[in-house]
């Protein structure tokens, strides 16, 4: 599904990712943890193709294809999705309109027909309901005036509608109340099957307790420095990242 080899990424010539290796198979859920500023969001942005995130060395293969030169919209149509740590407000653009435009743009690239508006709306409504979000959010501008938690849940709604092959969730659990966290976890679990993969960036073990990750990685200073099973998350929660320095020393 995803093979990242020796990935080096710079922002404004400043090295942020410094030789990152990661492999994810289909249907797997990988958690990425790590201290503030270690490069987790940078990894997400680099995978999604954000301008200014320059790959200076190494490679990223998504389903066997090198994606380094692909535009963000091409990556999206190929099945990559990034739930933003800070979802962006887009004043004046209707949420439902935006989501449908996104879905249809992806379908067009894949040679599929446009969705009909009835079944589209039905699906979005169901998805909103399962996340206990008010339907009126559909008529509002994208993320504008949404509460922090509503923005995060809106990312999950988008994921549910766009049905990516690989979803990268950047701290989608941050800022959620306890009930919302559970709803979001359920939203993720509903989409899990033996093909779809997830990269879940988080600081907390709580979400992972619901998600049962296959692998947990620790990203520090632009590299994966430790990998393990879900018990690693528990250890980090108890001990913090101090042991990383000890290991390096």
């Amino acid at each position: 599904m995803l093979r990242i080899s020796n990935l080096h990424v710079t922002i404004d010539d400043k090295p942020i990712l410094k030789g990152l290796n990661l492999e994810m198979g289909p249907g797997e859920l990988h958690a990425i943890m790590g201290p503030n500023g270690s490069g987790k969001s940078t990894l997400g942005y680099a995978l999604a193709g954000r301008e200014g995130y320059e790959i200076t060395d190494g490679s990223v293969e998504f389903e066997g294809q090198d994606i380094a030169e692909m535009e963000p919209e091409e990556r999206a149509a190929a099945g990559l999705f990034l739930a933003f740590q800070y979802p962006v407000e887009i004043p004046g653009v209707n949420n439902a309109y935006f989501l449908r435009a996104a879905l249809n743009a992806q379908r067009k690239v894949r040679g599929e027909e446009e969705v009909d508006s009835m079944s589209f709306l039905k699906e979005v409504r169901e998805s909103l309901k399962s996340l206990r979000m008010d339907e009126s959010l559909l008529k509002r501008a994208v993320n504008e005036g949404f509460s922090g938690g509503e923005k995060k849940r809106n990312e999950i709604v988008q994921m549910a509608v766009l049905k990516p092959k690989l979803a990268i969730l950047d701290e989608t659990d941050s800022g959620l109340d306890i009930d919302a966290l559970k709803l979001v976890a359920e939203g993720i679990n509903r989409l899990r099957d033996d093909k779809r993969s997830f990269m879940v960036i988080t600081h907390y073990q709580r979400l992972l307790e619901y998600l049962e990750p296959d692998h947990v990685h620790v990203l520090s200073d632009g590299r994966i420095v430790e990998s393990g099973g879900k018990e690693l998350a528990g250890r980090l929660e108890r001990e913090g990242y101090a042991f990383l320095e000890e290991a390096e020393a």
């Binding site: 193709g49 954000r50 963000p72 999206a76 933003f84 887009i90 004046g92 435009a101 743009a105």
Partner: protein, 400 residues
């Protein structure tokens, strides 16, 4: 005499009627003050040179068609500026009559900054007074259109009166396909407790479009205007809202789009003449190609107009390095216990928003179009009733 004076106010064939003295008075004022020049502060960005090069002909072109607005409305057609008064079919509570002498005699437009209003009076031809006496369930559309081949200068004059406690929606649909001059003077009066939803949808060809609108808002009356100006060769709109008595409310929301060879220029003023009056204004300009957009928004809270509130916000989007935008919000406060704020921002398309849309699969050009639309749609979101809002947003989408 300047070239412009000669062209527009020289020898004219004018109707022989009772208004000769009124025209002569205006003509004298115009001759005395002249037209604005580059030193006239309020007009320094308006390229009147364009008019000096024009030959205006009195010949009438055919009328141009208005795209059906798609909602139920009462439509009055002003072909090439003038309303055809034959077979008018007006709903109950709506009356049209000629403008009375008295208001023409009272008219005073000051010095050269008021030259086009003086010109309008000097060339007075058709003046209409529209009286809205009871609530109107259908919006009233004043379709002022010019046809291809239109090369005349017309000087329509309009008065609108909304009676006590009455609510109405008035849509100025102004579409230009010609290359002349439309120079309109509009006076609006809202009686106690009246409410007017005013919509100005304007756009066009090569004509110069100059309009001076003054709105008097009396106690507890509420004036709201939404402007969608899709740009033309030259548009100059002066809009003055006078809050005359306690409880008066005035709101202006607008978006102006300019592209190559287009110039739009909005000068708005909200005058809080007494206390306990409220206003709000949000005006945006979107500049593309080599278009020029000018916005001057003045909020004036007069001495003694205590306990008044006002908010003025402007935002601009510059999409090309050749486009130009001039924005000047002005706040003048001479009263106490007043809250007022203003802000102005100029920007390009937001990178974060661009990436967000593209990361969802929307290609770059479509994402850019969506952001432009979102920027321009925001000031129109509050338009009422909803069918008019939907129509305005469709018009916007077509224009982008």
């Amino acid at each position: 005499m300047s070239a412009l004076l000669e062209r527009l106010a020289g020898e004219q064939q004018l109707p022989t009627d009772d208004f000769g003295d009124i025209r002569r008075r205006a003509q004298a004022a115009l001759m005395q003050h002249g037209f604005p020049d580059l030193k006239t502060e309020d007009w320094k960005y308006t390229p009147l040179k364009l008019l000096e090069k024009r030959e205006f002909s009195a010949e009438q072109a055919a009328s141009s068609a208005l795209r059906e607005p798609g909602f139920k409305a009462v439509v009055l057609h002003f072909d090439n500026g003038l309303l055809n008064l034959d077979d008018l079919d007006l709903p109950a509570g709506l009356r049209i009559e000629p403008i009375g002498r008295e208001s023409l005699e009272r008219a005073d437009y000051g010095d050269r900054a008021g030259a086009f209003a003086w010109l309008n009076l000097a060339r007075f031809e058709q003046g209409l007074r529209l009286v809205i006496e009871s609530d109107q369930d259908r919006p009233l559309v004043l379709a002022l259109t010019t046809a291809e081949g239109f090369a005349a200068d017309v000087h329509p004059r309009l008065e609108v009166e909304v009676a006590e406690g009455v609510s109405a929606t008035l849509i100025d649909y102004q579409y230009d396909a010609g290359a002349g001059l439309v120079n309109r003077v509009t006076d609006v009066e809202l009686a106690r407790g009246a409410r007017l939803n005013h919509v100005i949808r304007r756009g066009g060809g090569d004509s110069a479009w100059i309009e001076r609108t003054v709105v008097n808002v009396n106690d507890e009356a509420d004036y709201r205007v939404h402007v969608l100006d899709c740009g033309g060769r030259l548009t100059r709109q002066d809009l003055r809202v006078h809050l005359l008595a306690e409880g008066a409310n005035g709101e202006i929301d607008g978006i102006g789009l300019v592209d190559t060879r287009q110039h739009i220029d909005y000068h708005t003023a909200i005058e809080h003449k007494v206390g306990h009056t409220n206003s709000r204004e949000s005006f945006r300009l979107l500049g593309d190609g080599s278009g020029v957009g000018v916005f001057n928004g003045r909020i004036h809270i007069h001495k003694g107009a205590d306990d008044s509130h006002s908010d003025l916000e402007t935002a601009n989007l510059l999409l090309s390095e050749h486009a130009r935008i001039n924005t000047k919000p002005e706040l003048e406060i001479y009263a106490e216990e007043v809250t007022a704020s203003h802000g102005a921002t100029i920007g390009q398309l937001d990178d974060d928003a661009m990436f967000y849309l593209r990361s969802r699969g929307i290609p770059a050009d479509a994402a850019g179009a969506l952001l432009k639309y979102g920027f321009a749609a925001a000031p129109l979101e509050g338009t009422e009733p909803v069918e008019v809002k939907d129509w305005l947003l469709e018009e916007l989408q077509r224009a982008l």
